[in-house]
Every structure is written in structure tokens, then in C-alpha cells.
């Protein structure tokens, strides 16, 4: 079978699915930026700056998907059925894996801008809080990127069980990353809203947010462990 068929399919799945989440997240940030501008037209500089930083970090998920698509299209030279399956699996893992945290990273950005609309003086506190929230939200995408980079470089032995184990690992990581991405985003969104209301308690709120996100991410770690077992052990 021609390896290229699976390479192009994997690249299409990777960026096609990977663009969904980030686009919605960035739109949410821009919506809140416009509402904040309507309330505080005087602080347009600060609002615009926060919007651009937030959107750039939200874009990370889509950039990961784009990079994997480009790696698959231009950087692969393996051949054979097993190699073809690993390429397709890499596309599936990163494609589904970016949906959740692309959307999730938009939520804290949006609520940070909502807080700016309330009081533009809190700009520094909100920026730091938003960046921490978004960075932790992206953990699930980073696990998906790790798994797909492993898959691209892997040369598995030739058997039907292994083939489906690799596909299963990709699905485990891809689907497993959707929920934690959105869940982390919800946690960070509400933490950001709380910081916007009482910026003095930022330390306490950040700590609580990180603990909450770490527990939300537990299911993502289950998926990562199962995916690695399926890829390496089975």
C-alpha cells in the first residue's frame, strides 16, 4: 500500500480538526474585547494588547496541529504499512487533541478581558493570571503533541495487533485530551473572573485554580498512560 495515502490523510485530519478549537477560542476572546471596548473606550491600548497576547497563546494549539501536518507532509520518509499507520495515528492524536484546549484556552482570555472592561487598572494582574491559566490549559495538547512526535519517529514491528494498538493509542490520547482541555478552561475562566472582581486575592485564587486544574487533568494523564502502554507495551 502506498504510504503517501495515509500521510496526506493524517495531515488533513491534523490541521482540519486542530483548527476547530483555537478558532472558537480566539473568537470568544475577540468578542469579549469588543464588549470591554464598549465599556471602557479610554483603555483601548491595554485592551487591545491583552487581546493580542491572549489570542497568540490560544493559537498555540492550532500551531501544534499545523506543525504536525507540515512534518507529516514534508518531513516523513518511511515506507510500509506499519509506518503508514503510525503517520495516520500521529495526525489523529494531534488533531483531536487540540480541539479541547484550543477552545479551553479561549475561555480565560475572554474572562480576563471581561475583567478589563470592569476596571482597566487591573491590567497587569489579569494578564499574568490569564497567561498562567492558558498555559496550564494547554497541557492536554502538549501531551497529544508528545504522543504524535513519538508516533512519527516510531518503527513498530509488523503485526495486526500492534497496528490497531497504535491506532487505539492515538484515539485514546486524542479523545482523552478534549474533555480536560475544556474543563481546565472553565476552571481558569472562573478564576479569572474572580481575580477581576478582587485582584488583591490573586495569590490564593491562582493556587486554588492550579490545584483544580491539576485534578481536572488527571483524566488526561490516564489517557496518556494508556496511550503509551498501547504504543510501547502491547
Amino acid at each position: 500500500m502506498d504510504t503517501m495515502i495515509f500521510v496526506v490523510l493524517g495531515a488533513g485530519l491534523s490541521i482540519g480538526l486542530g483548527a476547530i478549537g483555537s478558532a472558537i477560542g480566539e473568537g470568544y476572546i475577540a468578542m469579549n474585547a469588543i464588549q470591554a471596548l464598549g465599556r471602557q473606550p479610554g483603555a483601548s491600548q491595554k485592551i487591545l494588547r491583552l487581546m493580542i497576547i491572549g489570542q497568540a497563546i490560544t493559537e498555540t494549539a492550532a500551531i501544534f496541529a499545523l506543525v504536525m501536518a507540515l512534518v507529516l507532509l514534508f518531513g516523513t520518509d518511511g515506507s510500509g504499512t506499519m509506518k503508514a499507520v503510525t503517520y495516520l495515528s500521529a495526525g489523529i492524536a494531534i488533531g483531536f487533541g487540540t480541539i479541547g484546549s484550543g477552545f479551553g484556552a479561549g475561555l480565560p482570555g475572554g474572562s480576563a478581558l471581561k475583567g478589563m472592561g470592569r476596571n482597566p487598572e487591573n491590567s497587569d494582574v489579569l494578564t499574568v493570571q490569564m497567561i498562567i491559566g492558558q498555559a496550564v490549559t494547554q497541557t492536554s495538547t502538549i501531551f497529544a503533541l508528545t504522543v504524535s512526535l513519538i508516533l512519527v519517529t516510531l518503527t513498530p514491528e509488523d503485526s495486526y495487533v500492534k497496528m490497531f494498538a497504535i491506532l487505539g493509542g492515538a484515539f485514546a490520547m486524542g479523545f482523552g485530551a478534549i474533555g480536560p482541555g475544556i474543563g481546565d478552561g472553565i476552571v481558569a475562566k472562573n478564576a479569572n473572573e474572580a481575580v477581576g472582581r478582587s485582584p488583591k486575592h490573586m495569590g490564593l485564587l491562582t493556587r486554588t485554580m492550579i490545584i483544580g486544574q491539576a485534578i481536572t487533568e488527571t483524566t488526561d494523564i490516564y489517557s496518556l498512560v494508556v496511550a503509551l502502554i498501547l504504543i510501547f507495551v502491547v
Partner: protein
């Protein structure tokens, strides 16, 4: 496009193990270290009440980092971490930004070679390739040929080894600080979850406690996510730059991409890496 798979490596044998070093990345890391050391020395040599440009620049960054660190860790605990956090930030920032420098030794080499060629005609030869493409290939016998052998500037953070080293460094600092502050027993108790009473000999049951293993895995995976976040962003920016540049024949568009992925993403990711390091320290403090 041939840049992607190319690595210059040094291989040697030590105690029966074959060790491969990525020589370009090591060179780049030392260039970053030398740049930071020299500029920090020059900026702090004569400290003044009204700061000069160099001192001012360092003071802005230092005060910014100090404010964030003290805000997260508190005035008492945070004080001793500020130099470490500052070093991490400056190193990652310089490492992310070194990639935007042009291949300067090659450029000067070509200028010298072409002037040499105009006067003597022995510096190399012009190769006409197709209709529009003409390349100059310098001769290897000239004394300045070493200029062409220098590698171009690459971000050390583009290699996963640098990022993992930084991530593991932060991990060690976080846990050593936690053990030093709370004692080994209290430290272990924080891995037990809520099903274990906070006092007594229950601590010895940790091998059969499922929460223990789960917490250990989540700690280790935080190192992975911390380092791969930096790696993925810098490596991703590099891949997009190389592939798009070769698709548009290096015309104009890569400049804008370099501004976004080189300068902007470089500073944002350095800040994210530093902030997460502070947060991890504060979480276990």
C-alpha cells in the same frame, strides 16, 4: 528544506557507552551564556543612582521578575528565589531570540570572498545553474574559509534536551525546597490524598496507596508539559518558518513570520516558562 533533518553531532565512547552530542546546540548554549555573562558584567560594573542604558535594561527586567515572584511566593519566601527566576527568564529569552540573528559569519565570508575574487580571480568560482540562479562557491584554500564553517544561529530551546534540562532543574528546585521546608515526612504526606489521617504511622502504607502513584505520575508529567510547551512552540515556529520560506522562495513573507514566531512568541514563551516555574515553586512551598 534540507535544514530539517540536518544535525551536526560529535560521537565518542566513554566507559563502553557510545555518547552522541549535538555540537551546534552546545555551541549555541555557550554563546547565550557568554553573551549574558558579559552583558551582565558590563551593566553592573559601575552601578549608578541614575542608571545608564545597560543598567536600566537589566533593572527593568529584574524589577518585573521580582514583582511577580514576590507577588506569588510572598515577601519572606520569595526573596531567595528572585535570582534563580531572573536567570531562568533571561536565559530562556536570550535562547529564544538568538534564532533571529542572521548567519553573519557566512555573510562576511562571502563579502571577503567576492572582493578577493574581483581582484585575483582565485577565491572561488561562479556556477550558473539554470537561467536566473547563479551561485558563488568559495574555494577551500583561502585563509578565511573557516568563516563558512561556522553554523548559523539556532535557538538552543529548539532542542528538546535543553528544554528538558531546564524543566528538570525547576523540578529539582521545587522538590528540594519543599523537603527542606516541610521535612521528608510531611513531604511524603502531601502525596497521600485525603484518605489517610494527617498524623500517625499511616504514612508507612504508601506502597499500597493508589493516590501515591497517581500523584507521582502527575508530578512527573508536569515536567513533561513544562518542557514540551517551550519545545513545541519554538520548534513549531522554526518548522513553519523553514517550510513557508521554501514555499514562497524566501520572498518577504518570512520577515513577518520571523517577527511573530521569533520575537513575539519568544518573549511570550519565556514569560510563560518563568511564570509556571514560579507557580510550581509556590504550589509546593
Amino acid at each position: 528544506m534540507d535544514k530539517i533533518g540536518k544535525l551536526s553531532t560529535i560521537t565518542f565512547e566513554l566507559f563502553g557507552q557510545v555518547i552522541t552530542l549535538n555540537s551546534t546546540m552546545i555551541l549555541m548554549t555557550y554563546i547565550v551564556i557568554a553573551f549574558l555573562a558579559i552583558s551582565a558584567y558590563l551593566a553592573t560594573r559601575k552601578l549608578k543612582q541614575i542608571p545608564s542604558t545597560g543598567q536600566n535594561m537589566f533593572e527593568i527586567i529584574y524589577e518585573f521578575i521580582e514583582e511577580i515572584t514576590l507577588g506569588t511566593l510572598g515577601n519572606k519566601d520569595g526573596k531567595s528565589f528572585v535570582p534563580f527566576i531572573f536567570t531562568i527568564f533571561v536565559f530562556v529569552l536570550a535562547a529564544n531570540w538568538i534564532g533571529i540573528l542572521p548567519h553573519i559569519t557566512n555573510f562576511f565570508g562571502f563579502i571577503i570572498a567576492i572582493i578577493h575574487q574581483l581582484f585575483t580571480g582565485e577565491a572561488g568560482q561562479w556556477v550558473v545553474d539554470g537561467i536566473t540562479k547563479t551561485t558563488f562557491i568559495p574555494s577551500q584554500n583561502t585563509f578565511y574559509y573557516f568563516l563558512f564553517k561556522f553554523p548559523e544561529f539556532q535557538e538552543p530551546t529548539r532542542s528538546i534536551n535543553t528544554d528538558l534540562a531546564l524543566g528538570i532543574l525547576v523540578f529539582i528546585i521545587v522538590h528540594v525546597n519543599s523537603i527542606k521546608k516541610h521535612g521528608l515526612l510531611e513531604y511524603f504526606r502531601s502525596y497521600m490524598g485525603d484518605i489517610v489521617p494527617s498524623k500517625g504511622w499511616w504514612i508507612l502504607l504508601f506502597p499500597i496507596n493508589p493516590f501515591f502513584y497517581l500523584n507521582v505520575i502527575s508530578e512527573v508529567s508536569s515536567v513533561v508539559s513544562h518542557s514540551f510547551r517551550l519545545f513545541g512552540n519554538i520548534f513549531g515556529g522554526f518548522m513553519i518558518l523553514v517550510i513557508v520560506s521554501s514555499l514562497v522562495k524566501h520572498f518577504l513573507i518570512p520577515v513577518g513570520l520571523l517577527a511573530f514566531f521569533g520575537i513575539f512568541a519568544g518573549i511570550v514563551q519565556a514569560f510563560v516558562f518563568t511564570m509556571l516555574a514560579v507557580t510550581y515553586i509556590g504550589q509546593k512551598n
